[in-house]
């Protein structure tokens, strides 16, 4: 008999079969008859007036069919497009460019080489204009304005919390600490870049858009909204998200290239493919982070924290192209009280325009949670260091107590469940914390620098409850449709979209657990708006909290109907039936039973009179609350006093994501998340010179960790189920990326604390570490 493979089973992945054989279906693998290729002319300047675009030479190039520019799109009023944050963004400029590598014109060719030839032949006359790159300068009165359609460079001000009480608590504090923390602009750099194939069917007025998107349904609705005046309505638009080579937040927004490809297909009547190069991906797509945080904590001499105050400047570049829930322009940054019991807190964030690419999407995190966690976890160490308390003891003292859940934070979030001391204690035991502290003392006496860094993070994921969460007005519920076939096999479809998380494997396990149908007999589909129920996609660790919940709820609805059919088949009263694993049986008579397969067959062949035939259901799950995964990470580093190189000796990660659907996949998500926490902590940053020229447009300048730099991870777990989630799960895709960076930072600062070092910004490159040590007299001199 085929094994059911429900919850807690490390089921091997279904997806692997095609990926291992080179049979995946990624966007660039799609080839349609008569397909044209789109390539894009981009601006060399960060701010310039476009005086003229000369297309004659391009159009004379063999194989080049058309050049599309802003004025062309303006005729149809699609030269601008809305962002998810209610801002606007140019698709193609009519007269000015606002950041380097901005799209200037699209060139269509018969293949990608001729399209590139066309791009090289387009000549653009630019008149460079003054540039503002620094968001603080952008806020100064009289600063060069980035947006001609706005009054200033200030996009929005957002604040949250009790300002007055926070000020009082700061005034009454015995200890206050304050640091400026910059979390630099970084890029998710999924191994596959973005792209699409747009196919316009002029006869029927249908548009099919294969597109690298984490949220196909929102894209369909947005396309319908912005092209409605051209007669393209939602039932005629089909968005298909094929296999995605990673996403991490970078494939949530709509980029101009997609829109140009759609326009090009409508204009030419031919399918049009657009695939970014890596340089275009790094230089023009949405970035993550870029938060300048001034963080303050207040409390008592004995280490008791009382209040928190964070003030942040958020650099959004030329447009606010983040993908936050509408009510929260700074995402869930107000999770920044973290794992600690504060009496009061106040946070404010100001969004700013600069001449840089638009963005503010997540980098594998739930809406600014990494920025929040990074700041609070770094500040916890700053406070502990100031009063001379061990950072582990300091955390234990200030943790929200396990018995306090559900707990309402000083900033109003209702934490569902947690046991923070248990996770930290486990991490300390795994790493041998007390022994390491003794070793550190001995090493310092010998002049060697080693550090131990802790991060005890609390995440907030699973957006979200309809009361508070929407994107452009669309509520963020989960969705699942399950159909049981007559032979007892099933297909289930979802409004999410895996980018490597393994949904085809794990969703089947949730349904298998609920219905007793072996996971191998359940096919999972996502990503096609013509077939999947409406859903807001996969990002912000929402697939497990929202759509896996939906799977369980839908399966339970089916089980309710199955019970009625079973009662009919067993000639028993429904109330006398009990469910076990994969069948209903008559209480007290286990031999009298009907399996789910028998029931499914009867649903199509012998269903009770008066009941609808078939066995299927759909549900749109509105979560009652968010989920709050947490964990404690401990990093041990040794620093070379001659070079500033930081060697990661150990990294212990204890995660609590509630009930684990597939432990193998959970561990894989943590490994990958840790690597994407390590990356910005040690290596990655996208920076610009004063003229707005980007540094880091390829993988030789923007450094992704290889297997050599990436540490080995030691994983541990605790399990505190979510009380409101149907199967008690919380989500795990991003915890590690959120929690890890502060552990690296705290380890490095801890190694140098005796020199008087209190903070360091990421990425902690050897040069930056060496300069910091040198400033504090800690380097080895020749």
């Amino acid at each position: 008999m085929t094994e059911i493979q429900g919850l807690g089973h490390s089921r091997k992945r279904v997806e692997d079969a095609r990926f291992l054989r080179g049979q995946g279906n990624y966007i660039d693998d799609l080839k349609l008859p008569g397909m044209l290729h789109l390539d894009i002319v981009r601006s060399p300047y960060a701010h310039a007036k476009i005086k003229a675009i000369h297309t004659e030479k391009a159009l004379a190039t063999p194989g080049v069919l058309a050049v599309i520019d802003g004025p062309t799109l303006q005729k149809y009023n699609v030269h601008n497009m809305p962002t998810f944050m209610g801002d606007t963004q140019m698709v193609l400029p009519v007269d000015t460019v606002k950041y380097q590598y901005q799209e200037v014109a699209g060139v269509l060719g018969t293949d990608r080489y001729t399209a590139a030839d066309g791009v090289a032949a387009v000549e653009v006359d630019y008149e460079p204009l003054p540039v503002v790159v620094d968001p603080f300068k952008a806020l100064e009165p009289g600063s060069q304005k980035v947006r001609d359609d706005k009054e200033s460079n200030h996009i929005w001000h957002w604040e949250w919390g009790d300002k007055e009480k926070t000020e009082q608590d700061f005034a009454n504090a015995e200890i206050t600490v304050k640091e400026n923390i910059y979390i630099p602009r970084i890029h998710v750099s999924s191994m596959e870049t973005c792209g699409c194939v747009a196919k316009w069917d002029a006869t029927n007025g249908h548009l099919t858009l294969w597109m690298t998107t984490q949220a196909p349904h929102i894209i369909r609705t947005v396309v319908a909204l912005i092209t409605g005046h051209l007669g393209l309505s939602e039932e005629k638009i089909r968005v298909i998200s094929p296999d995605l080579g990673g996403g991490f937040g970078g494939k949530v927004p709509a980029y101009p290239g997609y829109v140009i490809a759609v326009a090009a297909s409508i204009v030419t009547g031919a399918p049009v493919k657009w695939i970014e190069t890596r340089t275009e991906n790094l230089a023009a797509d949405s970035f993550g982070r870029d938060y300048h945080i001034t963080a303050e904590l207040a409390g008592m001499k004995d280490g008791t924290l009382t209040s928190l105050r964070f003030k942040t400047i958020a650099d959004h570049g030329y447009a606010d192209n983040a993908a936050n829930p509408s009510k929260f322009p700074a995402g869930m940054f107000h999770i920044c009280t973290g794992s600690y019991d504060f009496k009061s807190a106040f946070v404010e964030v100001d969004g700013v325009y600069t001449n840089k690419p638009p963005g503010g999407v997540a980098y594998r995190c739930s809406f600014r949670v990494t920025e929040a966690v990074h700041a609070i976890e770094q500040m916890a160490d700053v406070y502990a260091q100031k009063i001379g308390m061990d950072p582990a003891e300091f955390r234990m003292k200030n943790f929200i107590k396990p018995e306090a859940f559900p707990y309402t934070s000083a900033l109003g979030w209702e934490y569902d469940s947690g046991d923070y001391p248990a996770a930290l204690r486990k991490a300390m035991d795994m790493v041998g914390y007390e022994t390491l502290r003794k070793e550190q003392v001995e090493k310092r006496a010998r002049g060697e620098f080693m550090g131990i860094g802790i991060s005890s993070f609390t995440e907030i994921v699973g957006a979200g409850p309809s009361k508070h969460f929407d994107i452009i007005g669309l509520k963020m519920f989960g969705s699942c449709e399950i159909r049981i076939h007559p032979t007892g096999k099933a297909i289930a479809r979802f409004g999410t979209k895996s980018q490597g998380q393994g949904h085809e494997t794990t969703y089947a396990q949730v349904i298998a657990e609920e219905l007793g149908i072996p996971a191998d007999h359940i096919k999972i589909e996502e990503g096609d708006t013509d077939t999947a129920p409406y859903g807001l996609g996969t990002y912000a660790s929402r697939s497990t909290p929202v759509d896996a919940a939906s799977a369980a709820v839908t399966a339970r609805k089916i089980r309710e109907k199955a019970k009625k059919i079973a009662a009919h088949l067993l000639e028993a009263n429904e109330d006398d039936l009990e469910w076990k694993t994969d069948r209903f049986f008559v209480k007290g008579s286990p031999d009298q039973n009907k399996t789910i397969q028998e029931i499914a067959f009867a649903a199509y062949t012998n269903h009770p009179q008066g009941m609808e035939g078939g066995l299927e259901s759909v549900s749109y799950y509105d979560p009652p609350n968010l989920t709050y995964p947490f964990g404690s990470y401990i990093c041990v580093v040794d620093i070379d006093r001659g070079t500033g190189k930081v060697a990661i000796r150990r990294f212990v990660a204890v995660d609590d994501c509630g009930v684990r659907i597939n432990p193998m996949i959970v561990d894989g998500q943590i490994h990958g998340g840790l690597a994407m926490g390590f990356a910005p902590a040690m290596m990655e940053e996208i920076s610009y010179d004063e003229n707005g020229n980007i540094h880091g447009t390829n993988f030789m300048d923007y450094l992704l960790p290889t297997a050599v730099e990436t540490p080995n991870w030691e994983l541990g777990e605790t399990v505190t189920p979510s009380p409101h989630h149907p199967i008690g799960a919380k989500g795990i895709g991003e915890s590690a990326t959120v929690g890890a960076p502060a552990a690296f930072v705290n380890a490095v600062v801890d190694a140098l604390a005796h020199l008087g070092v209190t903070t360091i910004d990421i990425p902690m490159t050897p040069r930056k570490v060496w300069e910091l040590m040198h400033k504090h007299g800690g380097t080895l001199e020749e």
């Binding site: 997806e15 660039d28 390829n698 992704l704 290889t706």
Partner: protein
């Protein structure tokens, strides 16, 4: 633009093509021959998603012109399955959860194929250096290292048997 007639043997099958001098080998594979298992992840030979074996040596096919491959023996991910069975390396990636989005996987497995041919019993450090020309954004590499170790063990068993 000059055109050249080339002949290449890919996964034991002979192909002939007339190609422009500038055509990269990766596009010959992907676009002319529909072998789309070999991927493109960067423009600078940094990521290794396009790694194939050219006369047994792993090369980044985005940095080789198709004309340079004239007369060569090429193996791509599509050629790893033998007699309908996954190779030990493919099996290792599956068993050890060495892939997530799957985009870097073909290149990673081709590099591993060459690595294990040259060094059948690599240490962890040798594996990490051996695959350092291939970037993966999903797995954090640990399970890829385990997958390579699994394959090495499995291949050693076979040799002993």
């Amino acid at each position: 633009m000059s055109t050249h007639h080339i002949q290449v043997t890919i996964n034991e099958k002979v192909h002939e093509a007339d190609v422009e001098a500038r055509l990269l080998l990766v596009y010959l594979l992907r676009e002319n021959l529909n072998l789309t298992g070999t991927h493109i992840g960067c423009d600078t030979t940094s990521c290794g998603a396009c790694t194939i074996l050219l006369n047994g040596t792993p090369v980044k096919s985005c940095a080789v012109f198709a004309v340079q491959a004239d007369g060569a023996e090429i193996r791509t991910v599509e050629g790893l399955v033998q007699d309908g069975k996954l190779s030990a390396i493919q099996e290792g990636f599956h068993e050890k959860h060495g892939l997530q989005c799957g985009y870097c996987t073909p290149g990673m497995m081709m590099t591993t194929t060459a690595l294990l041919a040259e060094n059948p019993h690599p240490t962890e450090d040798e594996i990490r250096h051996g695959i350092s020309g291939n970037l993966c954004r999903c797995t954090g590499y640990m399970n890829i290292v385990k997958a390579v170790q699994y394959a090495a063990d499995k291949m050693a068993e076979k040799v002993e048997a």
